[in-house]
Amino acid sequence: MVKKRGLSIRYKFLLLLTSLPLITLTAYLVLALNIFEEDKIAYVFDSSSSMSGTMATQIKTQLNGVLGTTKPIFQEYLNQGRFSSVSESIFQNEFMLEAVVVFKPENGIYRQVALLEKIPNQTAQVLGSIQRQMTNYFTEVEALRRLVKVPFSDDRVFIFERVTDEANTRSTVFLVIAKMSEVSEMFKAGVSQKMYLIAQDGTVLFGPDGMPGHKLQNAVTPAFLTRGNAQQVAQGAETARAANGTELLVSYSKAGFGDLTVVTTVQKEKALGAMQILIRKSLIFFGILIAVTVILSLFASKGLTGALTDLFAATKKVSEGDFNIRVPVNSTDEVGSLAENFNTMAAEVARLLDQTAEKARMESELQTAKTVQETLFPETRAQIGPLSIAGFYEPASECGGDWWHYCQIGQKIFLWIGDATGHGAPAALITSAAKSASTIIERLNISPAKALELLNRSIYDVSKGRIMMTFFLASFDLDTGELVYCNASHEAPYLIRKGEGPLKKKDLIPLNDVNNPRLGQARDSLYEQTTVQVEMGDAVFFYTDGIPDIQNPANEAWGEREFVKALVAANKDYPSVSDSVERFVVSFQAHRSGAALVDDVTFFMVKREAVL
């Protein structure tokens, strides 16, 4: 089942490479902007405080200057009860002064008692226009002793100075009207920041156009104005929100002259205008950086993800059964190694699959060969005239190199047993050749020696000396019981003479009077034969050398001694060939205990029975 693919690793890689600097730079920007903002605000506070402080000092200096000029006039008036010519002269020479007016209380109301003015009758007109405020001014000056007012929206400053006698019983209020054009202009001149000269109640004395005479609270209400007089400090800074909602940076400095305070306000947005520029430029820089990162990431990821994409496509092919797919190895890093290992793995899997297919084919062929070879063997039980036959065959693998056979030619029974060099398929092929040749040889009705000569040539021609066979061929005469045999280096069969008592080991007679070269050893070998008489009740045990080699699960061979013992035991009472073979099989199977055979096991027994 093919799982749905998620986001491509290339895009993940791209996302990682771009998001990492993006997040980092954003965090850096936020942090930097915060610091920058704080620093900028501190700087603005510092500079505006400095400016308000400077202005406060200048206001104080100028007002003190005015008072310093008028003090002798005051003093002379208090001493003489009128303005002298000296006072007149001082007044006329001070260009800032417009008028000096003296008030004294009379029945609780201050009344004008003396006047110095530059322009005649002007003062009376001015004071007449502010008659009502004057009452308040006198009330205030009663409490504060010194008062500064700017009742008109111009540069004229009204300085009220209350002087008392030593007993503090009689007060005299001097009003000095002075023109402070420069100071007034300075308060109007502010562009990026606004500057106000205010009284304690917030009334603006000097300030931008439209503000003098109004309360500062109409524009902004700094916190210091709401605090009591005792809690006010000489200088400070704060943020405040203007009436129109604009956030302002406010700094203030007390002038130290009357209740005057210099206030400067700066719009926070304008003060931090540089920060907006920084943000804008940073965003442009970010944009460029991200674009460059994306482009570089695309190039960088192509190398990595390209190889992985190739691998992905290759594994998909493999999952579809194509193991011949290979991926290019373009690097020596881990991805390159991965590609190399994939190629090795795919090649190995392909090889193993081929091997498995080949093995399956060979096993199938071997199975067929086994089936075919089984047809080469005769029935394991037979009775031909007086000769009874019983045999057993089990190959060590699918195909064996052992072969046994019997056939009747006239009055003779030919008994064949052979063992090809080794075992398995090559040996089985030789036994097939032997079987084929024997089929023809049987028809020739010739002696065992001649038969083996022909069989030898046949096998030699087939194997060219590479595979040989030991062979034993005997012909049993049904009429006379004469057994003619020829041995080609095969295990000599045992003749078991029917005796009176139980069979003993010494009663086994090996039929080894003649021996000849193995079949296939040399093409023109000559073979000799001999004859032995088989009496009624006598039996002959034919076998191959795989029997003593039978091993148990502990790899212990049965051995010749046990083999002979089992053979003697199986024939102790001269049983039928079937019983003898069954007993013998039981014996070696007991030793074998299910272990695999190391060599083919073949044997058969013939017995001359009484003619029925």
Binding site: D419, A420, T421, G422, M468, T470, A488, S489, H490, E491, A492, K505, K506, L508, I509, P510, N512, N515, N516, P517, R518, Q521, D545, E560, R561, V564
Partner: protein
């Protein structure tokens, strides 16, 4: 190192070949040159087994000795069995100088290989086994072979 260890020792009189191990299809006798010797003495006491493929290689190897007189010493049972069974295993110019005969005692299970030497226990056509063969505990042992089969090569 293969399953068969072969040592050659050549002196003025003869070539001595000492063999230990298993003779099978893996053996490569071609590396042990037998040619050019008038007498070859083969010590076989250490041979443990031989199979049909080993026999084929053995016969081919022995044929390379030419007309040399080959003497086999201390042939174990596995070799004697092949000498008796396989025509040509013992070369025409070959002679068994001594061989082992296995004995055993069925009751005690003891086994022993008794060396039969030419001129003592056997000659050209006869075998004279020792009168009594006993194991270490003094039990009488019997021959663990079928004599008519095992001594067949002597009576050829």
């Amino acid at each position: 190192m293969g399953k068969l260890d072969v040592k050659l020792n050549k002196d003025a009189e003869k070539l001595t070949v000492e063999m230990n191990g298993t003779i099978d299809e893996d053996v490569d006798f071609a590396q042990f040159d037998l040619s050019g010797n008038s007498k070859i003495q083969v010590e076989l006491a250490g041979v443990k087994s031989i199979n049909s493929c080993g026999i084929r290689e053995w016969i081919k190897w022995m044929s390379t000795a030419g007309g040399a007189q080959i003497v086999f010493n201390k042939c174990p049972k596995v070799i004697v069995d092949q000498i008796n069974m396989v025509d040509g295993f013992l070369p025409a110019s070959g002679k068994v100088e001594s061989f082992y005969v296995p004995y055993y005692n069925d009751d005690s299970g003891s086994e022993k290989n008794v060396l039969f030497r030419y001129g003592a226990e056997f000659s050209e056509s006869s075998v004279t086994p020792p009168e009594n063969v006993k194991d270490e505990e003094g039990n009488e042992m019997e021959m663990d072979v079928i004599e008519s089969k095992y001594f067949k090569f002597i009576k050829k």
